[in-house]
């Protein structure tokens, strides 16, 4: 693994000051990965990568510029930093710009178990075998599964070092592993449906069994066969865990500082108010041990935190970085996200809807006529108004039973109403991603079809 060099970061901070910056930050990222894909039992691709980048953000008083480069030679980097400082001088002085209050930087960093020390990058042969096992299980599940978009196993390692002229410096490393399979089922009419399933973790041993991933993907493809369009109606809508997570992401976007100070959010001026059904509690927790969205400090070098975003239906906090917190006269919440070379933005860390006590099967049984949604496509979510309209696929429920698959329909409503209409929350929360939710039931939405 290419080591991130703290000495280079410190040198870059000094260079920024020498070039006239009043304050500066340096972010160094080094990453490597291997992706191994198989299709129809044969090797389809192997992809290996190695990247090192350095990003700087410099301040000339309250004016700022950000930059990133893959040039790590000090001679070239010196000119690059000087040019970035010159760019900052051309930017407008922004009263909210600047490094965080130095007192807020963590004194000690928590140990969050973000890296799998035993495994590192999984070698090509083993990675291919895992992908093959998943795909074989999918292809063997049913004679109607005769084609595949393949299966892929990825593993990656990264190292991050961040320092600023407040005197904060810190680093951490992490690993990630994922395995996904995408078999295709075909019925007598020739109509095809893809099923996709994946498992992901920071620790190799926590991955779901490869054959189980393939079998689940196959099941998901098969149950879509014969999907039909239905008549336009209003009915209860159940979102499966992945689809429920997608509306959590939309909510987090509207609760993010930049959307709020731009006036581009339906959650503007709603802090402390009820925005969801009383049973809804959503946590953002960047401190969870070993979780995919955890990190010891955020993109501003501030501690990540655990807090409810929504507590018993009430909007309890916004998600803020230092800049948007200053714009809104609030305190930062440890949600600064950072890509090398970009100014900080805001993102949730680990965001999850607290599970309920009821099984997904019972939720389905509670619906006389309604829609169980397993696929959503498109971008029809308006964060400014909360208006929501997306393409959907899933299963139609008749008398509490999954009756037949449906497709080429949309579900529409408004996020405000949808969160207020969450009637049931399942007990099936699984940590497969940084944003997760159990199955939920929304009392009623418009379903457009024929």
């Amino acid at each position: 693994m290419a080591q991130v060099d703290p000495a280079l970061a410190e040198w870059a901070l000094d260079e920024a000051r020498r070039a006239g910056a009043s304050a500066a930050e340096v972010l160094c990222v080094s990453a490597e990965s291997l992706a191994a894909g198989v299709r129809m039992g044969e090797v389809e691709k192997l992809k290996s990568s190695r990247e090192r980048r350095i990003g700087v953000r410099v301040f000339a008083g309250r004016a700022t510029a950000t930059a990133s480069t893959a040039e790590l030679e000090r001679d070239g980097l010196r000119d690059f930093i000087a040019h970035t400082v010159a760019m900052a001088r051309l930017a407008a002085a922004d009263p909210a710009a600047g490094l965080p209050d130095p007192a807020l930087h963590p004194k000690r960093l928590p140990e969050l178990d973000l890296a799998d020390g035993e495994r590192g990058i999984v070698g090509a042969d083993e990675a291919l075998e895992l992908a093959r096992t998943a795909e074989r299980a999918a292809l063997g599940a049913d004679p109607r599964i005769r084609n595949s978009e393949g299966a892929e196993f990825d593993s990656g390692r990264y190292e991050i070092f961040f320092a600023n002229s407040n005197g904060f410096a810190g680093g951490y490393d992490g690993t990630s592993y994922s395995l996904g399979a995408a078999p295709i089922a075909r019925d007598e009419s020739g109509a095809m449906q893809q099923g996709y399933w994946y498992t992901a973790s920071r620790h190799f041993k926590n991955l779901e069994d490869a054959a189980a991933v393939g079998a689940t993907a196959a099941k998901r493809a098969l149950r879509r066969l014969g999907a039909r369009k239905i008549k336009t109606t209003r009915a209860p809508v159940i979102l499966d865990p992945d689809m429920a997570a997608s509306i959590l992401r939309a909510l987090a976007g509207a609760a993010s500082g930049p959307s709020l100070y731009k006036g581009a959010s339906f959650l503007l001026n709603r802090l402390g108010e009820r925005i969801a059904a009383p049973g809804v509690t959503i946590f953002d927790d960047g401190t969870l041990n070993g979780a995919l969205g955890s990190k010891p400090f955020d993109g501003d070098g501030l501690p990540t935190t655990r807090k409810p975003l929504v507590k018993a239906g009430v909007l309890a906090t916004y998600l803020l970085d230092t800049y948007s917190a200053r714009k809104l006269n609030l305190a930062p919440t440890g949600n600064a996200a950072r890509a090398v070379g970009d100014a900080p933005t805001v993102s949730p860390t680990n965001l999850y809807l607290e599970p309920g006590a009821i099984s997904p099967e019972e939720i389905i049984r509670s619906v006389k006529r309604g829609l169980y949604v397993t696929e959503l496509i498109g971008f029809g979510v308006n964060a400014v108004t909360g208006d929501y309209s997306r393409g959907a696929g899933g299963l139609w429920i008749e008398d509490g039973e999954l009756a037949y698959p449906v497709q080429e329909i949309t579900i529409a409503g408004n996020l405000r109403e949808m969160f207020n209409a969450i009637e049931m929350i399942g007990d099936d929360l699984r940590w497969r991603a940084a944003v997760v939710a159990p199955t939920i039931k929304i009392a009623e939405m418009t379903i457009a079809g024929e």
Partner: protein
């Protein structure tokens, strides 16, 4: 940034900058082919980009980046080995070649000799005297301020204005084991305007933008930037008045230009060679079949001057071309990169594209549009008793296997008794790719291409694309509104 005089011969730029020479390139390609592979290539990229953004009447975001690297690809039958590094040194490239060739079986004899060829002739679609990167930052910032002033002055309900300008220059070189070397210098820029309108009761956003492989002066021709501002303001104000959108199947009229995103989602992705070679597209095996009404001819054309989706050569060094996808309603062709063309025994179409050196190429669209028909837009609207007229869209998406696609309207109106009446809220439109165009009953003479804002995502890779459409009437499409 690279000096302009280096760029007359981009191959020299890479050889000088990274201390490469022909024998080093041959050595690395030879190493890539050490096993039983059909083909190998090296993709060198150097990209410089700058951006600035205005919020709350301040140009308070400035950024720049320099990225460079090399990707080594080895193809053996339908297998691809790919390795990349942002350290462009002979040692790193040899390691990458070793990693990439692992997909190929061992061979018995010695690998064939590799010789670096002479440069491939490329189109000259964007030979700019200068790129916006050479325009002083202050001048770029001044335009953002003018946009802010104009939008705020346009209407008292305009509450906030965001404007941004991004420009890049990508220098690329592809060196292949079959003796081709292709180079290109690819400028690209984009100006965006977005506004928030607030009438005390509700808030709405409006956005517009454009650009391409163009010079800075492009934005001032015919006061083009002012049109961007007018469009963004118009959209936000119209949406303040919008009523609930209808739900269900109805006649839909799409305006010209950007609504061509319909073709990109409903048709284009499903005709990409990789999906069809694998037989996983709803269009697989349907060449020669009728998939649209006879009024529809759809092409993908990477050779349009200065367009965002155009390229002199694709990212495998093949000159781009114009590919007829649907001719008078009949499916004619696929979009191909070299590997899929070889495996399907077809010709490459110059559609092998990648986001950057960190990605292997795959078949992608360039500029995808429908050729004009004979109706006037007025006739088309007048023909509709009850329907939806959609003129602007956000993004779209498609499930290529079952053919279902969506695209989301951001500005739309009801048509009642042949007249465009009230604006309706944004709604997603959903349809089935292989049959949506069979329902096209009128095609306008008013073909327009979009203003230069499209970015297409596939398998985690984003590339700039263009779309275009004349006004068309579709006799039935499901509109995903809330009013059932």
């Amino acid at each position: 940034m690279a000096m302009a005089n280096d760029l007359a011969q981009p191959e020299k730029f890479f050889l000088n900058r990274f201390g490469m020479n022909e024998s080093a390139l041959e050595l690395i390609l030879g190493s890539a082919l050490e096993r039983k592979a059909d083909y190998a290539d090296l993709y060198f990229e150097y990209r410089g980009a700058e951006g600035l953004g205005l919020e709350e009447s301040m140009v308070n975001h400035t950024s720049k980046s320099v990225a460079h690297g090399v990707g080594v690809r080895v193809c053996a039958e339908d297998r691809t080995g790919y390795a990349y590094s942002d350290e462009v040194t002979v040692d790193r490239m040899r390691l990458a070649a070793q990693a990439a060739r692992a997909i190929a079986d061992r061979r018995s004899g010695a690998p064939p000799p590799v010789a670096v060829g002479s440069p491939v002739a490329r189109h000259q679609l964007y030979e700019l005297a200068s790129t916006p990167l050479e325009v002083p930052l202050e001048e770029r910032a001044r335009l953002l301020h003018q946009i802010d002033e104009m939008a705020r002055a346009a209407d008292p309900r305009i509450h906030n204005v965001m404007a941004s300008f991004a420009a890049e220059r990508k220098i690329v070189m592809v060196v292949t084991s079959d003796g081709r070397i292709a180079t290109d210098v690819q400028p690209l820029c984009r100006l965006n305007v977005s506004v928030i309108a607030d009438d005390g009761k509700s808030r709405q956003a409006g956005a517009f933008g454009g650009g391409g492989r163009v010079e800075w002066s492009y934005f001032f021709e015919g006061d083009r930037w002012k049109e961007y501002v007018r469009q963004a303001v118009h959209q936000a104000l119209v949406n303040l008045e919008a009523i609930e959108a209808p739900a269900g199947e109805m006649v839909v009229v799409l305006g010209n230009g950007w609504p061509g995103i319909l073709l990109h989602e409903a048709i284009g992705h499903g005709l990409e060679g990789d999906f069809n070679r694998k037989g996983v597209s709803a269009f697989s095996g349907r060449i020669g079949q009728r998939v649209a009404s006879g009024l529809c001819t759809v092409v993908d054309d990477g050779t349009l001057a200065n367009r965002r989706g155009s390229l002199n050569v694709d990212d495998e060094g093949t000159p781009t071309s114009r590919t007829v996808l649907i001719e008078n309603g009949v499916l004619r062709g696929y979009l191909q990169d070299r590997m899929n063309a070889r495996l399907m025994k077809m010709e490459p179409t110059g559609n092998g594209r990648r986001e950057s050196f960190a990605h292997a190429p795959m078949p992608r669209m360039t500029n995808t549009f429908m050729l004009p028909g004979e109706s006037t837009p007025e006739e088309i609207i007048k023909s509709v008793k009850h329907g939806l007229y959609a003129v602007s869209f956000g993004g779209g998406q498609v499930d290529i296997t079952n053919g279902k696609f969506v695209f989301s309207a951001s500005e739309a109106y009801l048509i009642e008794d042949g007249e465009v009446t009230r604006p309706v809220k944004g709604a997603t439109l959903i349809g089935n790719g292989p049959d949506v165009l069979t329902r096209v009953s009128m095609v306008g003479a008013d073909l327009a291409l979009d203003s230069g804002v499209g970015t297409c995502g596939k398998d985690g890779q984003s590339v700039p694309v263009g779309v275009g459409l004349p006004t068309i009437r579709i006799d039935g499409l499901t509109v995903g509104g809330t009013r059932a």
